[in-house]
Amino acid sequence: MVNHEIGLDAVFAALSNATRRQILARLEDADGQSVSDLAQPLGIKLPAMLKQLGVLEDARLITRHKQGRTVHVSLAAGPMADATAWLQRYERFWSPRLDRLAAVAEAMDRQKGKARK
């Protein structure tokens, strides 16, 4: 639980920066791009890019793998799923309850309808 919370802290901290979100969005369009391909359209220098990728990697939002002399970057699903689940926690809690509320209310009104007849 504590590790989980620390993981979420890292994910939300990593997402609190426009450049890092742009990097993730670009990976969403085309996964597995090389570091230089990712850096070019964003107009940032390689050292700055590597720093941003380090933050994303620490949050486990991306993975880097070397192929020959090129480093490729891929999105990782797990921590993003945890973050989404955290943001959707209210919905997961309430949705089944509202379904039951609806079922009980409908049963009650059907009973009332019968009683009147």
Partner: protein
Amino acid sequence: MTLVRRIAASPDTVFDLLSTPEGIAQWWGPDDGPVLLAEFDARVGGRFRLRFRMRDGSEHECHGEVLELVRPTRLVTTWNWLENDGEAASRIEIALEAVGGGCEILFTHALLPDEATAKGHEKGWSGSLAKLRLAAEGRQG
């Protein structure tokens, strides 16, 4: 977070289920385990308290205060978990509208306005997060 449900029952029936201890006990429990305690003082400034046991044996209690009550169309309360005491309260807003022999319920659970300002960026994130998550899962699967 907002959920909408169309219910084939009158707003009065639904409102009673939402705002009386006996009513709440009828729908809150069945799947998750028993409701251990339900109190609801249905007037502005009144308090509610709800304690229940989950199937894993853990017990949870929530409580809050009624901020607005217009029977049978509107109910607004604060919302707190006992186990997160000290955390800022959130807000439940329920609107009921009679529609074609039944009603439509609009159920919103949101941060209180001051907390919402502090965490405003969360809202913007949730959509893009979901998208990113799908993209990432698609590629991993």
